[in-house]
Each structure stands twice: as structure tokens, then as C-alpha cells.
Symmetry: C2
Subunit: 190 residues, 2 copies
DNA sequence: CGGGCCTTTGACTGGTTTCAACTTCTGTGG
DNA sequence: CCACAGAAGTTGAAACCAGTCAAAGGCCCG
């Protein structure tokens, strides 16, 4: 049983046995096969998800009825709808496995408990969120400065393995372009 | 002397006199007139800025040599280049006042000090960053689902006061469209 | 082996940019 | 306080990036 979450936390804060078992008592380990839902739109997202192994996508349905992917999550990444989480509001998003995945989830209530019982987890989550903001700034900058074509090339060269793992139409969606145009760009690049 | 930072923190955590003076000893209050720089590109961004009063913009120079605004910051908002901050790397961004502004800044080192001396500040910053991620998700969703025209209408109706305060070409830049096209959209809307 | 989903191809369309010229606003010095 | 220069905003024409639509081909999985 690969406990990647604990390893992930250990990088920031040494945990003793007590703390580890407190964490384990407050989180839930789950295994999902391909195409299973962790969150359905219109439900409140009251959990954070940590991907131990696998690949998730987060998407909403746009005004034309088309799935629009806004985020992927791979091994070692946290994902949630933070708007829904913070405001106790129904979510516009779906979170779904792309491939078979092991996920750790923690509810909002249990997170509060955890932070009270193991205060040094505050630092861990502060850093997780700081990095998330840094990534969001970076991605936003890329979208401002690049054309769709450049953005595609950047993505495919930065994450070549990802292009293998994930269907092309999902990558197109995430990059904000149509499957047809992505296909055209692929032809050009070869 | 309006101490908006302390008020802002008090919303999350009660502070006693000692804690307040610890904070005050580790932050720097500064007043900037219009168009003054808080950060110049190529320098490392080793501080976080809190806007007590006023308005800042964050921008980089794109490949065509044009200023590209990625964020604004108003009263009560934190702003920084977190990529630069976390990795001790030179920044691609400039942060500049748009109008006369009062700013509190805290260096990375002093932030570490502060978090050691006043541990409940961990929670404050964790929440700040969680909200920042929620906002980034929201903004990203808007950009996925809206045309430039819709995005402009959304922005101008959501922040009508902002349209008064900030020059049009800066809003165009932030919205990712040309000043000429924004001008056209304005004409249509009237 | 077959059906349906994914990808490709090509023609057409349109939202947005680019460029250049003109008008209006703003702030600074005399 | 006015004048005027430079910055900001507007207008219109032409070009282009990327989307839409329709149809065909490929491929995966039951």
C-alpha cells in the first residue's frame, strides 16, 4: 500500500506516529476504475482530493452543452472546487477519473479537525496553496502571451508523456481549442 | 493611520497586543504616488504586498514589446509573483501603482519569522491562498466559457466602479483584447 | 466482427487583430 | 491659467487565426 500522501507531507513537516495515525483516521482512501465520478455538478464539493496514483479531470458543461476541461490532476496533486468548498455552494464542475486511480479524500470538517489536532499541517496546506497560486499565475501568463498553436506546442513538449496517456479531445478541451484544430496543428508539427 | 492589514487578519484570528506588535515589527508600511514601481522585472520578487488603499497592476512585457497586465490589486488584496518568491528566481513581472496607494510589504524572511512567532498566522495565510486559488479557478472558468465580448460585458457589469478608476487600455490588456476592439465593444453596449 | 466513438480533412465563416489616420483628453511648463 | 505635446481613445478597412459544419476514415472494445 503506497502511502504517497504521507510521503508528500513528510517533505514539508516531520510527522511522528501519532500524527500519522491522526491523519489516517481523518482521511479516506478510495480506488476508482476508469471513468468514475468523484464529484457531480450541482452537488456541493465538500472535500479535497489527493491523487496517490492515476489521473483525474475536472470539467463543466458549457452553454453549448459541451464538456469543458479546466484542470487535470496527476499523482501527487490536490484537486477540488474551492469556490464550492469555501462557500458551501453547489458546484458547476464534475471530477472524474480518466484512468484507474487511487485517491485520498478529506472532508472539509475533517480537515478542520486535522488542522486543530496536528497544527503543523497548517504549514503543509499553506505551502500547497501557495504553489497552486504560483501555478495558476504561470498558466495564466502562458495563455496571455501565446497563440493557441504556441500553447499546444508548449504543452506537448512540456508533457510528452501526458499526450500518450490522455485522449486527444480532452487535451484539446483543456487547451481551449477544438479537436479539429488540434488535429490540424498535429499535422503541421510532424 | 488606517491599519487595514491588522483588521483584515482580525477577521480570521483574534490577535493580542503582543502579536500585533510582532506583526508591525516585521512588516513595512509604504506610501507610493501614482505610477511608482514596487517590483521591476528581472529582480527577484522576495516580498508579498498587501494593498491597504489604492490600486496596483501586475504586468509583463510580451514578445511584441507590449505591456500585458495579468492582475490588478485593490484595497485588501495581497499580490506577489509567487513563482519568483518560491523559487528565488528573477521575476518576469512589474508591479506598479495605478493610483496613489498605501501598501504593506513583508519579505519572505520576515514572513517565516512571523509564522514562527505567531503560529496562528499560518491559518490566515492558508485561507488567503485558498481564496486566491478559488478566484483563479473562477476566472479561468470565465475565460474558458466566454467570448471576449461576453468577458468584457461580464467584467464591466461586475466592476462598474473599476471601469471609472482605471484607464481603458489597461482594462483591455487585462481582458486580453486590443484597445481598438474594446472601443468597438463599448460603442455596441451603449 | 460490428458499432460507436475518436480523429482527420476540407470548405466556409466570423470574431478579433492589425495598421494607419484622426480626434479627444490630460497634465505639465511657461 | 493657458497652450500645446504626448498619451489615450475612436474609426474603418483589410487580414487572419481559429471555430463550425459535414462527411469520411480509423480504431477500440464489447
Amino acid at each position: 500500500m503506497p502511502d504517497n500522501l504521507i510521503k508528500h507531507i513528510q517533505k514539508v513537516a516531520d510527522l511522528n506516529e501519532d500524527e500519522i495515525s491522526t491523519i489516517q483516521s481523518l482521511v479516506e482512501h478510495q480506488h476508482f476504475s476508469k471513468r468514475k465520478f468523484l464529484l457531480h455538478e450541482q452537488n456541493q464539493c465538500d472535500k479535497l482530493f489527493f491523487v496517490e496514483k492515476g489521473c483525474l479531470r475536472m470539467y463543466f458543461i458549457n452553454s453549448k452543452g459541451v464538456e469543458q476541461i479546466t484542470q487535470f490532476a496527476l499523482d501527487g496533486w490536490w484537486i477540488s472546487d474551492y469556490q464550492s468548498l469555501l462557500n458551501n455552494a453547489p458546484s458547476d464542475y464534475n471530477i472524474q477519473t480518466i484512468e484507474e486511480s487511487s485517491v485520498v479524500s478529506i472532508s472539509k470538517q475533517n480537515l478542520d479537525q486535522l488542522l486543530l489536532k496536528v497544527p503543523r499541517m497548517e504549514k503543509y496546506f499553506r505551502l500547497i496553496f501557495t504553489k497552486a497560486v504560483a501555478n495558476a499565475q504561470y498558466r495564466s501568463k502562458l495563455m496571455y502571451e501565446m497563440s493557441k498553436e504556441e500553447f499546444y506546442i508548449h504543452f506537448s513538449t512540456s508533457f510528452p508523456d501526458f499526450m500518450q496517456r490522455v485522449p486527444q479531445y480532452m487535451i484539446a478541451s483543456y487547451l481551449g481549442l477544438t479537436p479539429e484544430y488540434l488535429s490540424e496543428l498535429r499535422k503541421k508539427s510532424v
